[in-house]
Every structure is written in C-alpha cells, then in structure tokens.
C-alpha cells in the first residue's frame, strides 16, 4: 500500500459555505442538473514500509480532519 487517499468532508450538520458558493455559481452558469455540492479536502499520502491501518486511521481522523466538524473517509487501496 504505497499510496493512501484520505477524503475529509464536513459533517452533514455543519454548514458548507464553499459548497453553497459553488452550487450558486453552477446555477448561474446554467448547470441546473447539479442540485447539491459539498466541498471537502483530498489528501494523497505516500506510505513506506508496512502499512499500519490503525496509525493511518489515527492520522486521518485526528490530524488531517478536525474531528469537531469533519468526518473522514480512508481509502487504503490507494487511488
């Protein structure tokens, strides 16, 4: 597992002004088929040696994400 992807998204109950702004822009540009946008962060980590899932989960959940307002998705498979 040389490459790990972590997606960080705002918890559903937290407002997402960035996603709202993108949605508004899409509407004004005539892309009406998109009805919702949430914006998060996407991290690509290069990992060396034995992959330790617990450590990666710890990194993702407590460092890459702000656990107060964000959830994470860990994709160990790489891309």
């Amino acid at each position: 597992m040389p490459r790990v992807v972590v997606d960080v998204v705002l918890k559903p109950e937290i407002s997402d002004p960035q996603g709202q702004a993108v949605l508004g822009a899409l509407g004004r540009l005539g892309h009406r088929g998109v009805t919702g946008v949430r914006q998060g962060k996407h991290f690509v980590l290069d990992v060396e040696g034995t992959p330790d899932e617990a450590e990666l989960r710890e990194i993702a959940e407590n460092l890459l994400a702000n656990p107060v307002i964000e959830d994470v998705e860990l994709h160990l498979s790489g891309d």
């Binding site: 960035q18 702004a21 993108v22 508004g24 822009a25 004004r28 540009l29």
Partner: protein
C-alpha cells in the same frame, strides 16, 4: 476619462480603488458584476477583496460572471484593465493573464508594507514610473503566491511580461518574486500588492501607488 470599478459580491477594496481613481483625476463609473453590458468606459479596475468569499479558488467564481465576459472582450480589443489582488486572481482565472495565484507558502494571510521593483514602465498602468524604480505599497493576501509551470515561467519572463517584482523579501513565496504581470499588449495588468492603499499620506505607507492610476489617465491623454 471614465474608469469603471467593478463590484462583485465580496469585493472590499472597490471604494479604495474608486478613491484612487478620483485622486488621480479620473471619473469613476461603478460597475455591477451581474450586468451583461459594459457601459462606455475607457478602462476598468477589478478591485481587491474576497469575491464570492474566495470559496472554491480565489477569483474563480467572479471570473465567470456576466460582466466579466464583456470585460474580456473589450480587453482583447485593447481596453486597459487593472486587476489588484483579488482582481489579479480574477484576471488569471479569466485567462487574460498567464499563471495562477495559490495559497501563500507560509499558509498565513499577510499584510505588510512591501517594496516592489517596477520592471516594465511601458504598460498602460505603469508609464508614470521609471523602469527599475522601487516603490512601497501594502501587500495583503492569503492566496498571493504566483505560480506557473517552469516552462511557462520561462516564457513569461522571456516575453517581458513581469511588470513588478517583490524587492527586499518575498511575502508569499511567489515564483521568481513575481508580484504582477501584463498581457502581451501591455494593456492588461494584474498585481497582488495594493497601489490603491498608497495614495494618501494620511492613510498609506507612501503615495507611491498613485502612479498606476495616473499612468492610465496620461496614456489616454497622449493616445
């Protein structure tokens, strides 16, 4: 001479840009982002701020507003356009200027009085300066790091498109100390520092910024 100053939702320095135009002797025409038509103006200033909150990318959403299409068309026809800070970001996003502006290398917003070297004194917006002159104006941004692929930077430099460079320290990690660039015809200029905040002794670190606005006015007179 009538100079349009555009207000986007989230524009902040539009009042300042307008004040600078007036102090330089120009007539200000307020422009609204949502209008499709550009009224009769001789030049346009895109001011600083956080248009659309700078959500997505700085300047990205503003660059796709109706008025910007008209500005792009007129710019292609030779109308002078100045983009300051967020306005510079808009011009890059709109494809009028090369490169892109990204998160500062130190990841902080930074506001300081900044020395700049004028590299081109022959654009529509810098003719009041002497080439090589050092001026001091405020810089204030969080996403002001000018970047492009190396080959593109070489081309930009080779074509003499760098208008101003940071001197005495690079405030945001911009490639090759680039603070501002111009279009091939020298009519469109974008820069991260804020000349409109250096137009009065009372409120600015200098009055060095006034030259940007007098340049375009004099250019129009002599044209």
């Amino acid at each position: 001479m009538r100079i349009g100053v555009v207000t986007f939702p989230g524009s902040l320095d539009d009042v300042d840009a307008a004040r600078a135009v007036r102090l330089a002797g120009g007539e200000v025409v307020p422009l609204w982002h949502a209008d499709a038509e550009l009224p009769a103006v001789d030049a346009v200033v895109l001011p600083g701020g956080f248009s659309y909150g700078d959500y997505l990318r700085a300047g990205a959403i503003a660059a796709r507003q109706p008025l910007m299409r008209a500005v792009v068309d007129r710019a292609h026809a030779g109308m002078p356009v100045l983009g300051i800070c967020n306005g510079f970001q808009v011009l890059c996003e709109a494809g009028l200027l090369p490169g892109a502006l990204t998160r500062n290398s130190h990841l902080h917003f930074r506001n300081r009085d900044q020395a700049l070297r004028v590299e081109r004194a022959d654009t529509a917006w810098t003719s009041s300066y002497a080439q090589g002159q050092t001026i001091t104006v405020p810089v204030k941004n969080g996403e002001g790091r000018y970047v492009a692929a190396d080959a593109d930077l070489d081309r930009i430099e080779g074509e003499g498109r760098v208008v101003v460079r940071y001197a005495g320290g690079n405030p945001n990690g911009s490639s090759r100390d680039i603070a501002g660039v111009t279009s091939a015809d020298g009519r469109v200029v974008g820069l991260m520092p804020h000349p409109e905040h250096a137009v009065e002794e009372l409120t600015g670190p200098s009055v060095d910024g006034l030259g940007f606005f007098t340049s375009v006015l004099q250019g129009a007179l002599s044209a």
